[in-house]
Symmetry: C2
Subunit: 183 residues, 2 copies
DNA sequence: ACCTGAACACCGTTCAAGT
DNA sequence: ACCTGAACACCGTTCAAGT
């Protein structure tokens, strides 16, 4: 990539990160281009779709969720407690930017999506945590990680759209967890 | 209301019903005005916001949910079975038009919304069903109907956005129900 | 009192002209 | 090879002019 192209690419991603934080993942691309001091065509050349841009923005932090999953796998606290903080963590990550829960949860079921592979990282982290408890026999074995991601994603979408606080969200997650536990 | 105004009002609502069915509740208002043979200003005069229009459209069927709730209250099938078909019914109603789950579930937590009172009808129907099982002691008493509407609404939103089939949706509802049951 | 439709604003998307 | 920005399309919203 040419030096000026690389510079524009980096500036656009940095600006998008900022604008997504301020206004959510549905923020006008126009504003991103303007604040990055590039023409709209430049943004489109680098990122043909909004999801391509989202993909570049989340690249810097999406893998961090694996550490949280790792903690959940190793923790010796009660299952319900571990799952509650793990799911809360999951929700917090995909809700980092407004509009995130909707984007991630939809893309997870769509292999064509530019951010599908990033969603797989989320799902696999979840899979690892669920696997631990499946082995221990404390949660149902007939619900796969995709389905769990969808249900938790649904809770996150409602919380995101409605602006619910963490306590209310945790209460909803508690219901889902009780539905997963066999005990 | 003047005769011509009344006629326009009725035509707009009828056309909106059609367009919402075809393209969902986020369909362009423009198309509704054009197909109803009125100017955009006429649509805005009668319905200042999209939600005002939605309110008029759903008026004709929103109360039907009470009959389904009534059936659920009287049914002598096992609780899990009754709740599953009730929640499936609830999801089907709010998913009648694409984009519906998101609209209803958001408005339910916002008393300022023009469709808030319609959402109350949904919530109260749910309340009646939940009350029956609370009295019987088969479901948790610490989760109110608003919270249940939110969780089920979240499932409906995911299903709506992702285009999930009824079986997959029912499976997710099953998890939520198991989380509500005390047995 | 109500309707019309031109006009404006906003935003996504394309592409001819430039470097 | 890449960038610019004018231009177009689309859609929501307003309002002066009409009936």
């Amino acid at each position: 990539m040419r030096a000026d192209a690389q510079k524009n690419y980096d500036t656009i991603v940095a600006t998008a990160t900022l604008v997504f934080t301020e206004k959510g993942m549905d923020a006008p691309l126009d504003e991103i281009a303007t604040r990055a001091d590039v023409g709209p065509g430049t943004l489109y050349r680098h990122f043909p779709t909004r999801e391509d841009l989202i993909d570049a923005v989340i690249k810097s932090w999406i893998a961090q969720i694996e550490a949280a999953a790792h903690d959940a796998v190793l923790s010796d606290s009660p299952a319900r407690e571990v799952l509650l903080s793990w799911f809360a963590e999951y929700v917090a990550r995909i809700s980092r930017n407004k509009g995130g829960p909707s984007k991630f949860t939809s893309a997870m079921s769509n292999p064509q999506s530019p951010i599908f592979s990033k969603c797989e990282v989320l799902r696999e982290a979840n899979e690892r945590v669920l696997d631990r408890f499946r082995v221990e026999g404390v949660i149902r074995a007939d619900i796969d990680s995709l389905e769990v991601c969808r249900i938790i994603g649904g809770v996150a979408m409602v919380a995101d759209q409605t602006g619910l606080d963490e306590l209310t969200t945790a209460s909803m997650l508690g219901v889902v967890i009780d539905g997963l536990l066999t005990t």
